[in-house]
């Protein structure tokens, strides 16, 4: 009888306990990674997963005794990942978990940095600045002293320009609805981007770029102002600005690979090229620019690269 009771109650309990530990089941962060689909619905799927998980594990308060420290840290990592893949998607969830980590004394440098990155990626400048002030010992990436939001973008995607003369960034809308526009998604710190940017400085490509060619950094959790400022001073014809909000960009969900080239005409998406495998990609881009030019009849050859709209 005792043995039967043991089999009925103790073994299932042990099995449940094993499954509930982070070692016994895929971690929450792993689950988020498994939800990467490279399809437009990825954001919705990740948001729904995080919402369900928060409701199940936290309820009204993430600092519940039933939630182990390990699980709470895993939840924080999952919330950070969701907000890294889709900036601004679930900031409050990340904040709630972080508050619980703080209450338990579990918020280490990594957890603080991840919340900081969540704020920066979502362009929540003041929240990021507060975090910098609250944890001075961590030397978090500083936020520029002056944040100039500029005029209302009016439905256009917006970018932030880095001032060369003061500690400031200025937001400005990009009107992509007129003429021919080439968006170059790149980052001066990324090796493949740098190879592409070097090729774009060669006359064969440089002279074929539309007058309105914009170099845009994806909405990342770091704005890396010193690097951008330096690059922009060194290569003013390849002035990099960083994207404001991910959702404002109209041409597809997967444009943030580095590097990516998006060609638009009169606001209509014409083509996307990804990566810089070598000279052959330069030839593709060249052919694309020439073909598009023929179709539209807009003679832009030789106009060089515009630094500003």
């Amino acid at each position: 009888m005792t043995h039967r009771l043991a089999i009925l109650f103790v073994l299932p309990a042990l099995l449940l306990a094993a499954c509930a530990t982070p070692q016994g089941a895929p971690g929450l962060l792993d689950r988020v990674e498994q939800l990467r689909t490279d399809r437009p619905e990825q954001a919705g799927t990740m948001a729904a997963f995080l919402d369900r998980t928060m409701a199940r594990l936290c309820g009204a308060d993430c600092n519940r005794p039933a939630l182990t420290d390990a699980r709470l840290l895993d939840l924080a990592a999952a919330a950070a990942a969701v907000n890294a893949y889709h900036p601004g998607l679930r900031i409050e969830a990340h904040e709630r978990v972080f508050a619980a980590l703080l209450a338990r004394g579990l918020a280490g440098p990594l957890e603080v940095r991840e919340l900081h990155r969540t704020y920066i990626a979502a362009r929540r400048w003041e929240d990021a600045r507060r975090l910098v002030g609250r944890f001075p010992e961590l030397a978090l990436e500083p936020i520029p002293a002056t944040i100039d939001p500029g005029p209302d973008p009016g439905g256009h995607p917006a970018v932030w320009r880095v001032s060369q003369v003061e500690d400031a960034i200025h937001r400005e809308p990009l009107d992509l609805s007129r003429g021919r526009v080439l968006i170059v998604i790149s980052h001066p710190g990324c090796g493949p981007s740098r190879r592409a940017l070097a090729a774009l400085r060669e006359p064969a490509l440089r002279d074929r770029l539309p007058a309105r060619t914009y170099f845009v950094v994806p909405p990342l959790g770091s704005i890396d102002i010193p690097r951008l400022r330096h690059w922009n001073a060194e290569f003013p014809t390849q002035e990099h600005r960083f994207a404001d909000r991910e959702g404002d960009w109209p041409f597809g969900h997967r444009i943030w690979d580095l590097p990516t080239f998006v060609l638009l005409e009169e606001g209509v998406h014409r083509a996307t090229l990804r990566g810089w495998p070598g000279k052959e990609q330069g030839e593709r881009l060249k052919a694309l620019l020439e073909a598009e030019q023929g179709e539209t009849g807009q003679g832009e050859v030789g106009r060089g690269v515009a630094g500003a709209q």
Binding site: G189, C190, G191, R194, R195, P218, P226, R227, L258, G275
Partner: protein, 198 residues
């Protein structure tokens, strides 16, 4: 034995650092010619350094990184398979990882003709000391990456010294939290590093 190899490597690096002026790389083989070409492609980053000494440091470090890559024992999946076959008898730094973490790490490795182009780093950070991670990454010529991973454990003074190098980071085109998904294409994926060689 491994520790002494590591110390010798570090001493050589230090000597290289102190040797000035730095000579332009003279290709001695097709592989080093490729490395020289890569150096040219990323030369602009040196100018980011705030002073001449840092610029010089970064220049030397970048050259050393390229030489590490050229001399790496594992530069392809084929090299990796050979290493794993021999590892049963001769041992390997990879055994510092748990079985599951080692499986994930090995599955994440990507290569092209320049060698390693990317890998997943979170298991290294979770399970290893800085020295253990250094020894694993040295198999692929990417040992200088240890400076990018602040969570690596510190158990010895060597661990502390290796991690301290992170305070003097030089941009070499490697991009953290991106994965090399195709030739010269980095995509935002957490826990991966997209190498400049992608």
């Amino acid at each position: 034995m491994r520790l002494s190899v590591l110390l010798v490597t570090l001493c050589c690096a230090l000597l290289l650092l102190l040797a000035a002026p730095v000579q332009a790389s003279q290709p001695v083989s097709p592989r080093s010619a490729e490395a020289a070409a890569e150096v040219e492609n990323v030369e602009v980053e040196d100018a980011e350094a705030s002073d001449a000494a840092t610029a010089k440091f970064c220049q030397v470090k970048r050259l050393r990184d390229h030489m590490d890559l050229l001399n790496a024992p594992i530069r392809s999946h084929r090299d990796l398979a050979r290493h794993l076959r021999l590892a049963r008898d001769e041992g390997s730094p990879l055994f510092a990882l748990s079985n599951e973490a080692r499986r994930r790490f090995l599955a994440s490795l990507s290569f092209n003709e320049n060698g390693l182009t990317g890998y997943r780093y979170d298991d290294l950070e979770r399970e290893l000391t800085a020295t253990q991670a250094y020894l694993i990454l040295a198999l692929f010529g990417s040992q200088s990456d240890v400076a990018r991973f602040p969570k690596l454990r510190e158990k010895t003074s060597l661990d502390r010294e290796l991690k301290a190098t992170s305070k003097l980071q030089c941009s070499n085109g490697d991009w953290v939290d991106f994965q090399c998904v195709a030739r010269a294409t980095c995509r935002a994926i957490t826990r991966y590093i997209c190498k400049a060689t992608c």
